[in-house]
């Protein structure tokens, strides 16, 4: 379906990525409206349950953004997320959820450009994948 607009949930860490999104806003740079953001203190706070929940509630993609490795406001929270991500991705395949539907990346407060690029890329990707049949 061509007019399909994917729903993407984003978990953004308070210190880097959420700031990055804000600076994109302050620069009044447009990016896809598909992304809806949940603010967490640290990407390390992202419980896989949240990601599964998002898919269950109808998200077609889930995006997690944290501080760059080494820059985590809490030292290593982003690494903990990276560890979970590595297993979760593999497990989601077993549920028939394509790996492109879950993405983890690093965006610093200053990287509004990178933020916009990631959101645009992911939206395009998921749009091409089509909707994830909603769970009842």
């Amino acid at each position: 379906m061509s007019d399909f607009e994917p729903k993407i949930i984003g978990f953004l860490c308070n210190w880097c990525s959420y700031e990055g999104a804000d600076s994109a806003g302050k620069a009044q740079r447009e990016y896809p409206a598909n992304l809806k953001v949940v603010r967490v203190m640290c990407s390390g706070r992202v419980d896989p349950q949240f990601i599964l929940k998002a898919f269950k509630e109808g998200a077609d993609g889930v995006l997690i953004l944290g501080c760059h490795p080494g820059d985590c406001h809490y030292k290593e929270g982003n690494y903990k997320m990276l560890r979970r991500f590595s297993l979760l991705k593999k497990m989601l395949e077993q549920f028939g959820i394509e790996e492109e539907r879950l993405r983890l990346d690093w965006v610093s407060a200053s990287e509004s450009e990178k933020f916009i690029k990631i959101v645009s890329d992911m939206t395009a990707k998921v749009r091409s994948l089509g909707p994830l049949s909603k769970y009842e």
């Binding site: 896989p48 349950q49 593999k90 959820i97």
Partner: protein, 320 residues
């Protein structure tokens, strides 16, 4: 006045729950003093008609085990719900979907074709499958329908209380029945087991270092581990941390790791997701390549994380 009525019933189950009822042994007599067992397919000759004949809520409590896969199971569950004041889901299948729930990672058709057409021992040139309605030389026969997915009991009817486990601990079966018969005031959805996860009572917990890490997943057939050391501390998959206690560590005492049959602890929505998070968080690497390698050493992640709870997981089944 007559004693309160108890019923027991099975849906898609293996009979192990029945065995564990038999295993309450001497307590059977106590229960019989307190109540009349009015319906128990395995042991008593009571007809379905008689169940229909009961007034609504006439049965004080019904223990139902097994998951829901066939339409008649759903029908019967609903009937018993109507007839019973309280429904207790007994055993992992009724509680969290059970091991048959792994079939939710496959399509219904795949399961049938595999068993009746593809396995090497079957000779089925016409490729026939069991039918809901069929005629054999004009003789009409019927079979119940096979649903698309396995569901836990509370995905079909309202369940008041739960007795987890595969098999359930007879101790809790007695406790549950006595509690209900004694009109003990219990919160809706109460689970008859420990509140904390298995580790709290596990004798191996002391052997787990405070900075325990996972270096690679080791499988049970690959090596001989230290029976006196926490499995996770030995890079092995043990669902203990994410699994409600109450089984008395039977598997651990058999020197094998926990597979999670008691289901999640309260406040946990998704046992597998939680276990995955706990395990992944302590993986001993921050390097993407190495993490990929370690993830690679973990086979069938879904099958381990949701060994018993797939139907009640957030995702419930394979997409589509």
């Amino acid at each position: 006045m007559s004693k309160p009525k108890i019923a027991l019933y099975w849906c898609s189950s293996c009979g192990g729950c029945e065995e564990s009822v038999v295993d309450i042994a001497e307590n059977v007599l106590t229960v019989r003093e307190l109540a009349d067992i009015v319906f128990w397919p395995v042991a008593l000759d009571v007809k379905y008609k008689d169940v229909e004949a009961f007034a609504d809520n006439e049965i004080a409590v019904t223990l139902i085990n097994g998951s829901i896969r066939m339409d008649e199971q759903e029908h019967m569950a609903k009937l018993l719900r109507r007839k019973s004041q309280k429904i207790i889901a007994q055993g992992a299948c009724a509680h969290i979907g059970g091991i048959y729930g792994l079939a939710n990672l496959n399509k219904k058709g795949e399961c049938l074709d595999k068993a009746y057409k593809e396995v090497p021992s079957v000779k089925n040139p016409k490729g026939v499958l069991p039918q809901v309605k069929t005629k054999d030389c004009g003789r009409e026969l019927e079979l119940p329908d096979f649903h698309d997915t396995v569901r836990s009991l509370d995905q079909v009817i309202t369940v008041d209380y739960y007795i987890p486990g595969c098999p359930p601990n007879p101790k809790y079966i007695v406790e549950a029945v006595l509690a209900v018969l004694g009109n003990k005031d219990l919160p809706f959805g109460y689970v008859f087991a420990e509140r904390r996860s298995l580790c709290h009572s596990c004798h191996l917990v002391d052997s787990k270092p405070q900075d325990s890490v996972i270096n690679k997943i080791k499988r049970v057939h690959e090596w001989v581990w230290d029976p006196e050391k926490c499995f996770l501390a030995q890079d092995m998959i043990c669902l203990g941390p994410a699994t409600r206690g109450g089984c008395e560590e039977r598997c651990i005492k058999g020197n094998m790791p926990c597979r999670g049959c008691y289901g999640p602890v309260e406040n946990v929505e998704d046992q597998g997701g939680k276990f995955l998070s706990a395990l992944a968080s302590i993986i001993n690497s921050n390097d993407e390549k190495q993490l990929k390698k370690i993830a690679g050493s973990f086979p069938d992640i879904a099958g381990f994380c949701y060994r018993y709870s797939l139907p009640t997981s957030l995702l419930k089944k394979k997409v589509g």
